[in-house]
């Protein structure tokens, strides 16, 4: 986790403390098409700037390619495309959040990565029934923040589209 640089003034130790008391949970926040998303901080391995990505022909369109992260091969998934959004403009550079799933590393390409937020468990709500089915599939719920909504991304669901495509 050496590249994980929380953008807040909280020290890692304090973050851990807060996690332990069960009241608050820490999320790495990110934005995709101006929507705020969060991934539990403990699932996050790395945060990367724009990378050299090798395209993978014939792969599902959500797969942007693969990249070399300190000798490990990481599969890059474009969260925009996964969510059924239009691809980002060519001149914007994507940030990536590297997560571990089943021993494999995946790099989630998002528009920008924000700070690490501690959110209160009581602010958690389930997804509204009217939410797009694709979004509902990858999100496990929503935190009501002051002035904003934080969608919690379910990493496992986010990267299981290949099976769906193949089926």
């Amino acid at each position: 986790m050496n590249a994980l640089v929380p953008a807040t003034d909280k020290s890692p130790a304090r973050l851990a403390d807060e996690g332990r008391d069960g009241q608050t949970v820490d999320y790495v926040t990110m934005t995709v098409a101006d929507q705020l998303f969060g991934i539990p901080v403990l699932q996050v391995q790395d945060i990367l700037g724009p990378q050299r990505i090798t395209k993978i022909p014939l792969a599902p369109s959500e797969v942007a390619g693969s990249l070399n992260l300190r000798g490990r091969i990481v599969t890059a998934v474009d969260v925009r495309l996964r969510l059924g959004l239009p691809p980002r403009a060519a001149d914007t550079r994507a940030m990536s959040i590297v997560v571990d799933h089943g021993g494999e590393l995946y790099s989630l390409m998002v528009d920008s990565v924000g700070e690490v937020l501690s959110v209160d468990a009581k602010d958690f709500d389930s997804n509204p029934a009217t939410l797009d089915p694709v979004w509902r599939e990858v999100s496990s719920g929503i935190y009501r923040l002051k002035g904003d909504l934080l969608l919690v991304l379910e990493v496992a669901n986010l990267i299981t589209f290949a099976a769906r495509d193949a089926a």
Partner: protein, 932 residues
């Protein structure tokens, strides 16, 4: 010290410490069958290894211990603390013997009768007795034993290369100052010498060191010491190596960047240090790579001795052949495969190979053969262990399966032999009539399977009763290093495993090789052969801006054909199928470590893995198998699979590459391309007439020429060609062994690969029939006719070879009349008696009518019952189950091969590979005869 012994000590010490832990767990958890199985296997392994190393005392103790554990496992004996104590004390005895062994390379004399008696009493269920024995001092026998060697040889310690270190001394012992008391004296002061530690160097003398005295002392005081041999090499977790490797890769990348920067600067101060860094890094990288790879031969090193000893013990003659020992394997994989391999070879020797008298009664050579073969294949490492022994007895397995309740009689009746054979991989399943000290307890094969599956491998078994068994262990290449060719297409780079690359050809532009299009399908003329091509760009849809299927892709093949661009063609071979891959550029070959692709990408068949190149970029590794199967189906790719299943079968079945030419009239003629060895252009003035035949000097020999047109006249043709005098005629060269002949034709028209329906006529000589090819009625030529014209005895030599014997009967099953008509005369002239039928149903009917054949040759793709089902039916039935079946197919992928083997095909031959077919037939018949 003997390598073997050294390894044994390392391994056993490891196993023993593992056992200690597991036994204690077992005591707490007596009903854990998995734990029990584990313990049992570990002891079994120790016993087995002792057996062939010739360590009777160790073996006896382990054997007795194993007996008790066996009872535990079968539920005949409860796991009580007393029992566990007893087992533990037998382990202690083993440890003590081992420490002596380590010091002297010999087992201490003496026996462990008391301990063994206690164990046996326990095993026989004599609980009272067993508990009474609880306080048996397990060291009693041992302690007594130690005195003996001490008196045997009173060599003074000074002679030892490494003196034992006193327990309380930190410093290296000073040899000069060590007194040289005779062993007897050492015996009297055991305390100082209790903890011997040979210092990294094996003892090179057989003299028992005084340490013996210490070890032989009442055990209550002496903890069995840590094995010193085990300390000579350290075991490092693979994770650590993996980490190291990752870091080295990083280092390499950084170095590359630095070198890049340096190149742009002249005369930098960094020059020298960077050069040095460069070297060190390279060496480091190499070293780390090496730590992980080992030739499989390392795992085989023990086997020759194992076989030697076994053959003595069992009174058999066994010849062990080892092929492919240099095949490199990841260390971790090797480690895991070592024990299973030993088990399997031992099994083959013990159960597979029959005793001498039984072999000679069965008409086999006295010496049994066990063959190990390791090779890389399609991203896997295959290890075959085959023997020519008795094979698996299905009825024995059946009986055992019913007895042990794994299957009911009814279930068994519904299973194929193949399925029934799989039972031998179940735990506790042994068909050996008696439990020998070598094997037969039913551990072994389940261990093998567990271990193989743990590393993601598979194990296959094929066995014919009376003829032997073959186990094929297939291990994924996941960690293995392969060399790969890096190519570029549309700016993307890919790696192609070097193993499937045959050659590289530059094509298009100004080069001599031109890519041509046949109905849009690119082909290349390569040394008179036509090579189907596939463009990597269109195959991988590389130019598609969106990845939607069917998106317009620029076809570099057509550009190439138009000679507007230049490209490289990688000629690849998969099985017998060669094809060319069009790429833009070819880079170097690189050694790569294959890493599996992420699970979400595994469904893409074109890739076998990915890797990181030296420059740090990720690159996909192409799977030639996947590409091959994709090329075969490219024309059908856009059709729904279910809908066209039937059609496709019909299509591929008769798809055959045909050479079209013109001769004797305007109507095109065709001959199967596979029959044509070469195409030549021959200058007619070099043609001579000899013995009423046209001949030409060709490759240092005379080659007869036969004009296709019987009215052909050499002189008039030359005269008719005008003044330049270089009249040429294309010639199709047919070759067979060292003979060849040329068929003079007027013009080579094309090579097509297509579906073909032959309507037979057969009334004109040299023509099999006619077919619609490329939209025109085309005569299909009978090459055999012209062969016999050139050499009346073309097939005669072969016939003679068979002349002395009764002709072999062949049953030929193929739904295509064309092939039947092609093959029947061919086989006939080769001296076989051929019965041809058009479908599997007719063949089965012949069987039921009581016909017998020596060999069956069957097509795979047939309407109704296909070749696989047919083979299955044949193997399942009684009457023909011993008859070898050879599969004949127009396209052969490894998957087909596997499936073919599974259902019982003896061999697999590509259609039209006449040479291979004949070789295979005679080979198979020889094998069958040898085994009968």
């Amino acid at each position: 010290m003997d390598d073997l012994l050294c390894e044994f000590l390392t391994e056993t010490s490891e196993n023993l410490s593992l056992l200690d832990i597991q036994l204690v767990k077992l005591e707490r958890n007596p009903n854990d069958p998995e734990l029990l199985d584990n313990i049992f296997r570990l002891v079994h392994t120790i016993k087995g290894t002792c057996g062939f190393l010739g360590l009777p005392r160790l073996e006896a103790v382990a054997h007795a211990g194993e007996n008790v554990l066996g009872k535990f496992r079968d539920g005949e004996l409860d796991v009580t603390p007393q029992a566990v104590t007893l087992i533990l004390s037998s382990l202690d005895t083993i440890k003590r013997i081992i420490s002596t062994l380590e010091a002297t390379e010999e087992e201490p004399a003496g026996d462990d009768a008391t301990l063994i008696a206690a164990l046996n009493a326990m095993a026989s269920g004599d609980a009272a007795d067993a508990s009474a024995e609880e306080d048996v001092d397990p060291a009693a026998g041992d302690a007594a034993a130690i005195d003996d060697p001490a008196t045997d040889d009173a060599a003074p310690i000074a002679e030892l290369e490494a003196a034992p270190e006193p327990a309380d001394a930190d410093a290296m012992p000073d040899f000069d100052t060590v007194d040289a008391p005779p062993v007897a004296e050492a015996d009297s002061e055991p305390v100082d010498l209790r903890e011997p530690e040979s210092l990294g160097q094996p003892l090179a003398t057989t003299a028992p060191p005084p340490a013996l005295a210490g070890a032989g002392d009442p055990v209550e005081q002496t903890e069995p010491k840590e094995s010193a041999v085990a300390n000579q090499s350290i075991r490092v977790s693979v994770d650590l190596l993996e980490n190291l490797m990752t870091m080295v890769s990083e280092l390499v990348l950084t170095r590359n960047q630095l070198l890049q920067i340096l190149r742009s600067q002249k005369d930098s101060d960094f020059d020298a240090p960077l050069q040095r860094l460069n070297h060190v890094t390279s060496e480091l990288q190499e070293g780390v790579m090496k730590t992980r790879m080992q030739p499989i031969g390392n795992a085989w090193a023990k086997l020759p001795r194992l076989i030697r000893d076994l053959s003595h013990e069992l009174g058999k003659k066994i010849d062990l052949q080892m092929v492919g020992a240099e095949t490199e394997l990841d260390r971790q994989v090797l480690e895991l495969i070592k024990d299973p391999l030993t088990h399997m070879v031992r099994n083959s020797a013990d159960h597979g190979i029959e005793p001498i008298d039984e072999r000679s009664a069965a008409g086999k050579p006295e010496t049994g053969r066990i063959r190990l073969n390791a090779y890389h294949e399609g991203g896997h490492i295959n290890i075959e262990i085959s023997d020519d022994g008795r094979g698996l007895a299905i009825d024995k397995i059946n009986a055992k399966a019913i007895a042990s309740g794994v299957a009911t009689e009814a279930e068994l009746a519904g299973m194929s032999d193949q399925q029934i054979q799989q039972f031998i991989f179940k735990a506790g399943f042994s068909t050996a009539a008696q439990v020998t000290s070598v094997s037969g307890r039913g551990v072994g094969l389940d261990v093998v399977r567990t271990n193989v599956e743990r590393i993601g491998g598979t194990i296959e078994l094929k066995s014919t009763e009376g003829r032997g068994s073959t186990f094929i262990i297939k291990i994924p290449l996941t960690l293995a290093i392969v060399s790969a060719l890096v190519v570029e297409s549309s700016g993307e780079r890919f790696a192609i495993p070097q193993i499937s690359v045959v050659e590289l050809v530059k094509a298009g532009g100004q080069s001599e090789h031109a890519v041509e299009l046949v109905n849009g399908a690119p082909v290349l003329r390569l040394r008179s052969r036509l090579l189907p091509l596939v463009s990597l760009r269109s195959l991988l849809k590389l130019n598609a801006t969106d990845k939607a299927p069917g998106g317009a892709t620029a076809d570099d093949a057509s550009e190439l054909a138009a000679e507007s661009t230049e490209a490289f063609i990688v000629v690849a071979q998969v099985g017998t199928y060669s094809f060319g891959i069009i790429v833009d550029r070819v880079f170097d070959t690189e050694e790569i470590v294959v890493k599996p692709v992420a699970p979400i990408l595994r469904h893409i068949e074109m890739f076998s893995g990915n890797t990181i190149l030296g420059d740090g970029s990720v690159i996909m590794i192409l799977d030639p198998n996947g590409i091959a199967s994709a090329t075969g189906e490219i024309s059908l790719a856009d059709k729904a699979e279910s809908e066209d299943q039937q059609r496709r079968q019909a299509d591929t079945k008769d798809r055959v590459a045909l050479l079209l030419f013109r001769a004797a009239g305007e109507s095109p003629k065709a001959v199967p391309l596979a029959l044509v060895a070469r195409l030549e252009d021959i200058e007619l003035d070099k043609v001579e007439a000899a013995n009423g035949q046209y001949v030409v000097q060709y490759r240092g020999a005379l080659m007869p020429l036969v004009p296709f047109d019987p009215t052909f006249d050499l002189a008039s043709t030359i005269a008719g060609t005008g003044e330049d005098g270089t009249a040429r005629k294309p010639v199709l060269v047919f070759a067979d062994g060292d003979r060849s002949m040329g068929l003079i034709v007027d013009e080579i028209v094309d090579i097509v690969e297509q579906h073909m329906t032959v309507e037979l006529s057969g009334d004109s000589d040299g023509v099999l029939g006619s077919a619609i090819i490329a939209g025109k009625a085309t005569e299909v030529v009978d090459a055999g006719h012209f062969l016999t014209k050139a050499y009346p005895d073309w097939f005669g030599a072969r016939r003679e070879a068979h002349g002395e014997e009764v002709a072999h009967r062949i049953l030929l099953v193929d739904d295509s009349p064309f092939f039947l008509n092609m093959l029947t005369p061919l086989l006939d002239v080769a001296g076989y008696r051929v019965t041809a039928v058009e479908n599997a149903g007719e063949a089965i009917a012949l069987r039921d009518a009581g016909e017998q054949f020596d060999i069956i040759v069957s097509d795979i793709e047939m309407p109704g019952m296909d070749g696989f089902e047919f083979a299955q039916a044949v193997k399942d039935g009684d009457r023909w189950s011993q008859t070898p079946i050879v599969a004949l197919s127009s396209h052969t992928t490894p998957r087909d091969l596997d499936r073919g083997r599974q259902v019982g095909f003896t061999d697999y031959v590509a259609k039209f590979d006449r040479e291979a077919l004949l070789t295979t037939l005679s080979q198979t018949l020889t094998d069958a005869r040898g085994a009968a």
